[in-house]
């Protein structure tokens, strides 16, 4: 126990407190015998600018107890500011929640409060103050992926005079899989690539030159082609989605169709698009299909059939696109069951109409388009693994807690942009890139990250170097310290959730201000306080 600093409890005793008035004198007397609380100060109406009365306890550790409103009125923040208290030097307890304990019980509020305050006082006595300066991050940014989203983000960031390294996944900057930059935004990728190449703040590297991404204390390092390590404060993960080849021999997927249209081929004859064949086609894909069908129809006299199970209209503008397509003479057929006979590219389609139950048949279509399952390329999966990102079926980044911003990944320094989050069209990608840039600026602003209160730390003597923590950390915040042969915490990434501490087989990891012993002691106290 830190003997130089005493523990002071501050209690708000206003009549609006849900517990009613506390017998302050009785509490004083009871706490005078306490070992963990040295002094009690009772404030009347603490929420009304009473923090100035606390000047004489500067330099002590403080335990606040009051109604929930005190937190909302900013009393604790102001008091902490006035007294210069860091996260490890104060604790707040909500008196209201002690109501749980008082229900149908003979104990008085004073009994209950004494118990609570004593156990918390003990926790506070063991805790260490957080006095680290915020970590300064590098202001360089690494962007993985040179599709529409990567380019947009790169250009927005270079406009802010941040230096950007862009990694191209393919030798050609227009990856064939980048549907967003295809017919929905013709020519945009070429234009943006031109701009990026012209910008002094953007450097472009091919993926094959990229070494492994390493997480370090102040961000990330990567070396290109074995050259000197380059340092980054943050990474934007913006890989293009690629589409799997069509599942039938002789059929095309959307990517192939797009590139044919873009190359200026005219596509003629009877063309059949089949949607919803396996699972449900996403509305974004439906939009790509309709855009392509429209483009074909504009260029030639093709006979276009679109076979689908459900009409998906839940995207802005999609209903209008359907209407337009119908006006142009594109035939939509809803089907219930569909049989596709494929004789090396000679197709015969037998289907059944759910409305009438009538069978229909399409003989020898000139071209069958089957949108493939879209996902991430192998390179993108590799990079995701090296960053500790969670992927969902190698398709999306892990669906994440609603509490976070949409672009945040499980690694705090990595932001996910564009269609790696799900199917997106060109305007969606643009919006997404812009919000990623905003989130990134917020991360780099203030030149660092405020340390979390329950930061994990590794006891070097106890660590068995078994790397369990590397495998379980949800934030990729654990790395190997090769020199000392122990695990190491990246403080800019650690969020203080405590999973590593609970999983560590050697009990070498502790959370600041929340060590296993103090937690057990606190719980023990809590269980037996009211006897």
């Amino acid at each position: 126990m830190n003997s130089t600093r005493s523990i002071v409890a501050v209690l708000c005793d206003h009549q609006c407190s849900p517990n009613g008035p506390v017998q302050a004198s009785q509490l004083q007397k009871r706490l005078s015998e306490s070992t963990s609380i040295d002094k009690l100060i009772v404030l009347q109406k603490a929420c009304q600018d009473q923090e100035k009365k606390l000047k004489n306890i500067a330099g002590q550790k403080v335990l606040f107890a009051g109604c929930p409103y005190l937190e909302e009125s900013g009393f604790y923040t102001r008091a902490a500011e006035n007294l210069g208290l860091g996260p490890g030097e104060m604790l707040v307890t909500d008196v209201k929640s002690s109501i749980f304990d008082l229900y149908e019980s003979s104990e008085t509020i004073e009994d209950n409060l004494v118990g609570r305050l004593e156990s918390l006082g003990r926790l506070l006595a063991d805790s260490v103050a957080v006095k680290e300066p915020p970590v300064k991050l590098k202001r360089n940014v690494l962007i993985f992926g040179s599709g529409l989203s990567g380019l947009k983000a790169a250009l927005e960031l270079s406009g802010e005079k941040l230096s950007v390294d862009l990694v191209e996944t393919e030798d050609q900057p227009v990856a064939p899989g980048c549907l967003a930059g295809g017919l929905n935004a013709p020519g945009q990728i070429e234009e943006l690539t031109e701009q990026a190449r012209g910008s002094e703040h953007v450097a472009i590297f091919p993926y094959r030159q990229m070494g492994p991404i390493q997480t370090v204390e102040k961000g990330f390092t990567v070396s290109f082609d074995g050259a000197q390590q380059r340092e980054y404060g943050a990474v934007i993960y913006a890989p293009e989605r690629i589409e799997a080849p069509a599942e039938e021999v002789g059929a095309w997927n959307l990517t192939r169709l797009y590139s044919r249209i873009m190359e200026g081929h005219s596509i003629k004859g009877r063309i059949v698009f089949i949607l919803d064949r396996e699972g449900e086609t996403a509305p974004e894909v439906v939009r790509d299909v309709l855009t392509a069908a429209k483009a074909i129809k504009e260029r030639s006299h093709a006979e276009i059939w679109i076979l689908l199970k459900q009409v998906r209209v839940a995207l802005p503008g999609l209903q209008e696109l359907y209407d337009l397509a119908r006006e142009m003479g594109i035939i939509f057929v809803k089907y219930q069951a569909l049989h596709l006979k494929n004789d090396f590219g000679d197709f015969q389609i037998d289907g059944q109409d759910p409305q009438t139950g009538a069978a229909f048949q399409i003989n020898k279509p000139d071209r069958v388009i089957l949108p493939g399952r879209s996902g991430l390329s192998q390179a993108a999966v590799q990079v995701a693994n090296s960053l500790g990102l969670r992927l969902y079926n190698d398709t999306y980044t892990q669906p994440y807690s609603l509490w976070r911003l949409a672009n945040e990944s499980n690694h705090p320094g990595v932001l996910v942009c564009g269609s790696a989050r799900g199917n997106m069209d060109a305007s969606g990608v643009a919006e997404d890139a812009a919000s990623v840039v905003l989130a990134l600026k917020q991360r780099l602003r203030g030149e660092g990250i405020i340390p979390v209160e329950h930061l994990a730390s590794v006891d070097k003597d106890k660590c068995a170097y078994c790397l369990t923590c590397l495998r379980v950390c949800p934030y990729g915040a654990m790395v190997k310290n090769v020199e000392d042969r122990v695990a190491q915490v990246i403080t800019t990434a650690c969020q203080g959730c405590g999973v590593c501490a609970s999983e560590c087989p050697a009990e070498a990891i502790t959370l600041r201000n929340l060590s296993q012993e103090s937690v057990l002691a606190g719980m023990h106290k809590l269980l037996f306080s009211s006897i």
Binding site: F100, S401, W403, R404, C497, V499, L511, V519, L526, L527
Partner: protein
């Protein structure tokens, strides 16, 4: 108290659910004690076992709804640990002690209250039988 039940809850969804519960005026019986951890992922077998050994009748781990843990899958980790301790207790033939994992959404005060009450009633019934 010998029959006290410890609720270990996370500082995210479960804390909000408890707050909502008290906001709605649902009160818990006195044997319930609450303890906050940053995430239920930081609960391990040692914590559960030592609490039971120290005399609490039961430990309830209260985490966020599945798929909505702020720390990715801390609640699922806790569920596995609770299952393991449960198995250990039943295999060792320990009676009158229980551990349970509850997932709660932050907006469901009444449902949470009912579930917790069921626990205390079940524990009481068990105690009386003995």
């Amino acid at each position: 108290m010998a029959d006290s039940i410890l609720i270990i809850h996370c500082a995210e969804g479960a804390k909000k659910a408890l707050a909502r519960m008290s906001e709605e005026g649902h009160k818990l019986p006195p044997q319930f004690k609450t303890f906050e951890l940053p995430c239920t992922g930081s609960v391990n077998e040692v914590l559960l076992m030592e609490n039971l050994q120290n005399g609490s009748a039961g430990v309830v781990v209260l985490g966020c709804q599945k798929e909505n843990c702020k720390h990715m899958d801390g609640n699922l980790r806790a569920e596995r640990k609770v299952a393991r301790v449960k198995k250990l207790l039943s295999e060792a033939g320990v009676e009158g002690k229980f551990v349970e994992m509850i997932f709660t959404a932050p907006d469901e005060g009444k449902r949470l209250h009912n579930t917790l009450l069921e626990f205390s009633q079940a524990a009481e019934a068990k105690g009386k039988r003995k």
